[in-house]
């Protein structure tokens, strides 16, 4: 049963690295315009699933994705789908801020340029930086290197860079895990502001963060296999307040109340 508003939808998705199974049988829908959080202990495959949504796993030679993922009802892994085109519609923000070693301006303009943007670049850069709540801090030093900014500013630059190419979905892979609490708070506020215009999927280790920002939460867990590796699986996916206050699964309750993980 696919809800009509789902932007992204995973059906029985399993991911292998080489011959070892990393995540098994994940099925979930990402509704349009909502913020979905993936939580769970390390190694439960939440980042792996996230990277399936913009086909970043294609870049890992040994990775193999089974099952079906649809994006706006089209098979994301279909034979005619261009992964490069997909990534310009489904943006991504990474765990560690990774601005390019270019000026702040060029960090934003790069994505627009490679995607054939024909409009006014200055306006796009300013608009994107405003959107990422960074404009006031950097407007006088757009020619400075993006690497000269603080960690929190760098991460907002990366969000601005993702927003600049006007994607439909933004995937965030633990965007605050390398940041201090104040920068984290600013990014969280920013995520909430962006939520109306973009569908956001955020992976986080921080359960408070998930409960603060997200509309829906998916709880992943991992179990050890006989071979000694870990396989992740989706335990429960529901509205965030249900996951945190009346989860259906005991494992979810144990995790969100801090009993393990």
């Amino acid at each position: 049963m696919q809800s009509p508003t789902a932007v992204l939808s995973a059906r029985s998705v399993s991911v292998y690295y080489g011959s070892s199974l990393a995540v098994r049988q994940v099925s979930l829908d990402i509704p349009r315009g909502e913020i979905v959080a993936f939580i769970g202990p390390s190694g439960c495959g939440k980042s792996t699933i996230l990277r399936c949504f913009n086909r970043m796993n294609d870049l890992v030679a040994s990775a193999r994705v089974e099952g079906q993922i649809t994006y706006n009802d089209r098979d994301l892994y279909g034979p005619k789908v261009d992964a490069v085109a997909i990534r310009s519609r489904i943006g991504m923000v990474f765990q560690r801020p990774n601005p390019f070693p270019k000026s702040i301006y060029e960090n934003i303009a790069f994505g627009a340029r490679i995607n054939g943007y024909r409009g006014n670049m200055d306006e796009l850069v300013e608009g994107s930086l405003r959107r990422a709540a960074l404009w006031d801090e950097v407007k006088d030093k757009l020619r400075d290197s993006g690497l000269a900014l603080s960690g929190g500013q760098q991460q907002r630059l990366c969000i601005a860079r993702a927003v600049a190419i006007q994607p439909e979905v933004i995937l965030m892979d633990e965007p605050c895990s390398a940041l201090d609490p104040i920068s984290t708070l600013r990014i969280e506020e920013l995520i909430k502001e962006l939520s109306g215009d973009y569908t956001i999927v955020i992976v986080t280790h921080n359960m408070q963060q998930a409960s603060r920002v997200s509309d829906r939460t998916a709880f992943f867990n991992a179990e050890a296999t006989d071979a000694g590796s870990k396989v992740g699986y989706l335990v429960e996916y529901d509205r965030t307040e249900r996951i945190f206050h009346e989860p259906a699964q005991e494992a979810t309750r144990d995790y969100v109340t801090g009993r393990f993980g």
């Binding site: 913009n54 970043m56 870049l59 490069v84 085109a85 997909i86 990534r87 310009s88 519609r89 943006g91 991504m92 990474f94 560690r96 990774n98 601005p99 390019f100 070693p101 270019k102 790069f110 994505g111 490679i114 995607n115 290197s145 690497l147 990366c158 860079r161 993702a162 190419i165 179990e223 050890a224 000694g228």
Partner: protein
């Protein structure tokens, strides 16, 4: 303690924890306690002996590093004093303004520009060959080659670096020159073109290997960031990876340039011994290094002015390569991106 071990032993699925659980659950008395007792007579470190060993090791290491520094200082001082002696006889303005290099003739002239022009010519040809070859193979190796191809290509490239330069010299003289003569009719038997081209082949592994290191050192996260914006592989390499690796690539090129300037055998064999001013690659020419070979091999008496030209030319060579190295050092520090 007891509670812990019970909790842990209930999670046998986690292998490491189960080992800890085993240890914790095992009876305490089974640990051989004698070896962990506080008996001081079992512990008698000889602090003084280890301090003396430390001092000895430090002195030996210091001595050896001093030898290499002293050697450098010795070379620089020898060059300096002999060069000063040379300029006492031949004024420095003649060295830089004369347009002929004929120190062994009766009407001796000492225009170093003649030798510099030859060196600049062969080095430029070499870089024109080595820069595209080296950089493109570095990009191919680090970005496009599959592990299997890489396993064959990389050692093959490194073999080039191991070929003795005298072999390169004869390769240029006996193979490349005749080949080029079929295309360019006016080409002399000794010429800067074929020497420079083979010199370029000889320094290609240097550029390829150092540039590849620089490209390889660009963090994966930067490439991911570019791909995540919808960039293709080519766009990612050209716009993100290469600019990020620029300082290392430039350093490798400068190192290759100074290697080409100092390279002796190839140019001495294939470019000839004819000191002519000009940048015509089709004729015989004599580089600074080739001149040093010529004079060293001849029976020039020590202390004569022809003998002292060796040091003047050597100093010029040294100053040029030193200048390049200083520039490269500065450039790398100025433009290196720090990723943490």
């Amino acid at each position: 303690m007891l509670l812990d071990s019970v909790c842990l032993s209930q999670r046998p699925k986690l292998r490491f924890n189960s080992k800890i659980a085993e240890i914790l659950a095992s009876p305490r008395q089974s640990v051989p306690m004698e070896s962990f007792s506080q008996n001081p007579s079992l512990w008698q470190p000889n602090r003084q002996a280890s301090q003396q060993t430390d001092l000895l090791v430090r002195s030996i290491l210091g001595l050896f590093s001093f030898v290499s520094v002293a050697t450098t200082a010795g070379i620089v001082l020898t060059l300096f004093f002999e060069t000063v002696d040379f300029f006492r006889v031949i004024p420095i303005w003649r060295f830089f303004s004369e347009t002929r290099w004929t120190p062994l003739f009766a009407s001796a002239q000492f225009g170093i520009i003649v030798l510099i022009s030859a060196t600049v010519l062969t080095t430029s040809i070499a870089i024109a060959v080595a820069l595209p070859l080296g950089l493109l193979s570095a990009i191919c190796l680090s970005e496009y080659a599959s592990p299997k191809v890489r396993q064959i290509l990389k050692p093959a490239l490194e073999v080039l670096a191991g070929v003795p330069t005298v072999v390169y010299g004869y390769f240029a003289l006996l193979f490349v020159t005749p080949l080029l003569q079929k295309i360019i009719p006016g080409l002399q038997g000794f010429n800067a073109l074929s020497a420079g081209m083979v010199l370029g082949i000889a320094i290609t592994p240097l550029i390829a290997s150092l540039s590849e290191d620089a490209i390889y050192a660009v963090p994966r996260s930067l490439r991911d960031g570019s791909y995540a914006l919808g960039a293709t592989k080519r766009e990612t390499i050209v716009s993100v990876v290469l600019p990020a690796a620029l300082s290392g690539i430039v350093a490798s090129v400068i190192l290759a340039v100074s290697r080409a300037i100092g390279e002796t055998m190839i140019v001495a064999i294939a470019a000839g011994q004819n000191a002519t001013l000009g940048l015509n690659p089709l004729v015989s020419t004599m580089t600074m290094t080739a001149y040093i070979v010529q004079v060293s091999l001849g029976d020039t008496p020590a202390g004569s002015i022809a003998y002292q030209t060796l040091f003047a030319v050597g100093t010029t060579l040294f100053v040029m390569t030193l200048g390049l190295n200083v520039f490269s050092f500065w450039f790398v520090r100025r433009f290196r991106e720090k990723y943490d």
